[in-house]
């Protein structure tokens, strides 16, 4: 099955219906993992160029505006993509998750994204996470981050950003020459419910 055909199948209404009986994310993953097309996709993602192609595709379908009254019809598919990417390309999965977290009208995809962020990014220090999540502009052309290198820091907090510690990543031999934005995912507001995340532009 070709890459395009696989995506078409995973994004079909029938496929979403099959996954739709899930009552939580774990069940959704179990159902997805039983599908041959998902197994093939996951295997193909071992190839970095294929994974980047999928990431680009995710960035593009997240931005599509269909009927805004309803959930994104590719919601479950995006969740599957994030999960599949996380198995072999965690850095790219992190980028897909970041895009999903900022997109409207997603249900499963947001849960998959949170699962990736809490499971992978939170494991190490912010600096270690930053190492993992560097990606080059040439590999990430869609999703609103065109021609930028993006650094995602797992849990820096406001104090860390204000203190400029994020920007000390140069000391860790990260290539920040072309870095335009730092996206954080854990910057708590005062009421500890909603979270306003800082975007630092260099």
């Amino acid at each position: 099955m070709s890459f395009s055909a696989a995506l078409q199948q995973i994004e079909s209404h029938d496929f979403a219906a099959h996954l739709g009986v899930a009552n939580n994310l774990e069940m959704l993953y179990t159902l997805a993992g039983q599908e041959q097309v998902v197994k093939e996709l996951t295997t193909s993602l071992l190839d970095y160029t294929v994974a980047v192609r999928l990431l680009t595709h995710v960035g593009s379908i997240i931005q599509e505006q269909e009927d805004v009254r309803f959930r994104n019809p590719r919601d479950a598919a995006i969740a599957v993509y994030i999960w599949a990417l996380a198995q072999s390309q965690p850095a790219l999965a992190g980028l897909a998750a970041s895009a999903a977290l900022n997109a409207p009208r997603l249900w499963w995809a947001k849960r998959a994204a949170l699962n990736v962020t809490s499971g992978t990014w939170m494991e190490g220090t912010a600096e270690a996470g930053a190492h993992k999540l560097m990606t080059r502009a040439t590999d990430w052309k869609d999703g609103g981050a065109g021609r930028k290198d993006v650094l995602i820091v797992s849990d820096p907090g406001k104090d860390m950003i204000r203190a400029g510690r994020v920007l000390q990543s140069e000391l860790l031999n990260l290539n920040t020459n072309n870095l335009e934005s730092v996206i954080t995912d854990a910057d708590y507001s005062t009421n500890a419910v909603s979270e306003q995340t800082d975007v630092i532009r260099k």
């Binding site: 029938d14 219906a17 009986v21 009552n23 069940m27 019809p73 995912d185 500890a192 995340t197």
Partner: protein, 174 residues
């Protein structure tokens, strides 16, 4: 960029303030912002009918799940991992199948882990179709986000498992 932390928790203003009967435990829940599109729901209905041709769709919606139907009046989504706490705090007790009646709850488990819950709404006597007494259980349950169905107890997606338990909070008639 705005993101909610503690989604579904007591601090999430988009979640219902939902507590168990004993008021001991907050039940984490999340309310979807949007319904699924019509085409997606129609595909869900086709899928459900393929699993259970005799099932009758009561409501085709993705705005709540099985626990939301049984324990939250169809208002929200509640993860199945909370089922055991809810059953305990709401005063449910396990009962043998022969004692189950309309209004009791059937829990579906796979590998011992709760996956699905529904309400028994009919005990259909099908003795005439079979030699000897036989009762067929019919259940009302929401299949994930694929709609709410009246279905035979055994005709559910295989992911829900085949370990069935019956629970009741009935109080004795004095």
């Amino acid at each position: 960029m705005t993101m909610i932390i503690g989604r579904g928790s007591e601090r999430d203003r988009a979640a219902l303030q939902l507590f168990t009967t004993a008021n001991r435990s907050y039940i984490e829940n999340e309310r979807p912002d949007e319904e699924r599109a019509v085409e997606g729901l129609q595909a869900a209905l086709r899928f459900a009918k393929a699993i259970s041709p005799t099932a009758k769709c009561r409501s085709l919606t993705a705005m709540y799940n099985c626990l939301g139907l049984v324990f939250a009046s169809r208002r929200t989504m509640v993860d199945c991992k909370h089922l055991d706490v809810i059953l305990r705090d709401d005063g449910f007790s396990p009962i043998p199948k022969v004692q189950a009646m309309e209004g009791d709850v059937v829990v579906y488990r796979r590998n011992g882990i709760s996956q699905h819950v529904g309400i028994i709404y009919e005990l259909r006597d099908i003795s005439l179709q079979h030699n000897g007494s036989q009762i067929e259980f019919w259940v009302l349950s929401q299949w994930g986000e694929d709609g709410e169905y009246l279905h035979k107890m055994g005709e559910v997606p295989t992911i829900y498992g085949n370990q069935l338990e019956f629970w009741s909070e009935r109080k004795p008639i004095r």
